[in-house]
Symmetry: C2
Subunit: 240 residues, 2 copies
């Protein structure tokens, strides 16, 4: 049993963590969040012998959830996977997003633009999994293009190719769960810091649920009405 | 067998990693470096049942090596240890160093100033280990106070309390090894990115040698004349 935290409270937590008192930076939190997602991928889909023929597709959205995906892709490359990133709307919020892209270039990770055909990477026998880093806890409907079409396509393949959603299954209402038909059904959900209410709508018999983003002390968790998670050793994820 | 990289080359590697082309930020690299040191501490000194009576002392220097130590302290706290930081000369290089201190305050990690008596934390039965994050690969003698006195004291206790050195045993010449008498003899050395020549001067029968800071691709390592390290799974350290 765990307590979920609403989208409103999640925004407050984020603001306090990066506020003047605590002083975390986006770069730090994103590095740890992206690392934790890469660790969940590694745990659920261990490297196979025929790994060189396979890839992990990361679909990155326009905001911070997308940034977590970019960091995840870099760590997956370091862990021995072959990540391919589809990043149709590149964030221009801060210079840091450009740096995340440069880092992937440096690692030789392909990054597809909106006009490129990303669907060639949806291949039942070659795609290890799809990391859904499109929308996070600040998502508000209605969804815009190209993301509604992308999510329609993902919801068609999710029976054949496992989807790993970062924090929130993209397209789902953060507090109320699936609101569109079709919608994606992730095989793995990695809640960041603390689960959001939508995670109560996953089918627990089919979806592995992790919490990741290990960066808050006990008192802080308690202040927001939940207990900290019992991560093991240096793990950055915990299976719930 | 591994190839060591001189202080000059290490500076070039650092500069290129944070240069405009690769685009890593200090915040990202420091987060990963500090995490890797915390992982080495966890592996060498697993949590004991009587952990609440024990502490880890982190001695942080004035530069980036000290910053790695501050990050390490935060992760150790998250891993269940009781870190205490001695930070006599606080860096004012960038705002980020102040934020690293705020983060430790937020986690309730004590930070001792120069005028406080840090030696009460040198206790054979209560100090799990000392993290030596005083000087890194850019250290050039002569050493100034208070660090020469601090290192004299550390070299007196290193037979009773294990020292974990970050990248370089502080006070050692990066390329030539120990240059003063007395000098510290670490029980654990965590080389960052790639070992420096001084690591050839450790007594391999007494010192566990790790490499940490897993953030470069193979081609980049080769360009600087070394092979990448075969890290296992999502590990951020590898025992050499």
């Amino acid at each position: 049993m765990f307590k979920a935290v609403t989208s409103k409270l999640a925004a407050e937590i984020d603001q306090e963590l990066m506020g003047p008192k605590v002083g975390f930076t986006l770069q730090q939190l994103m590095e740890l969040a992206g690392f934790s997602v890469a660790q969940a991928v590694t745990r659920e889909f261990p490297l196979q012998n025929n790994n060189e023929d396979k890839h992990v597709l990361i679909v990155a959205g326009p905001g911070n959830n997308g940034g977590d995906g970019l960091v995840c892709a870099r760590h997956l490359k370091l862990f021995g996977y072959n990540p391919v990133v589809f990043y149709p709307k590149r964030s221009k919020r801060t210079e840091f997003y450009g740096q995340l892209v440069n880092q992937l270039d440096f690692f030789g990770v392909p990054i597809l633009s909106e006009e490129q055909d990303w669907t060639v990477y949806l291949n039942k026998s070659k795609t290890v999994c799809i990391v859904d880093a499109i929308f996070g806890f600040s998502f508000k409907p209605p969804m815009r293009e190209p993301f509604s079409s992308i999510l329609d396509q993902l919801s068609e393949v999710d029976k054949d190719i496992p989807i790993v959603s970062v924090d929130v299954p993209s397209g789902w209402d953060v507090d109320n769960g699936p609101i569109t038909s079709p919608h994606i059904n992730p095989t793995v959900l990695v809640s960041l810091t603390v689960p959001k209410p939508c995670s109560n709508h996953i089918d627990k018999s089919k979806t592995a649920h992790y919490v990741g983003g290990r960066f808050i002390p006990k008192e802080f968790a308690n202040k927001y009405g939940f207990e900290p998670f019992n991560y093991v050793s240096t793990d950055q994820i915990l299976k719930l």
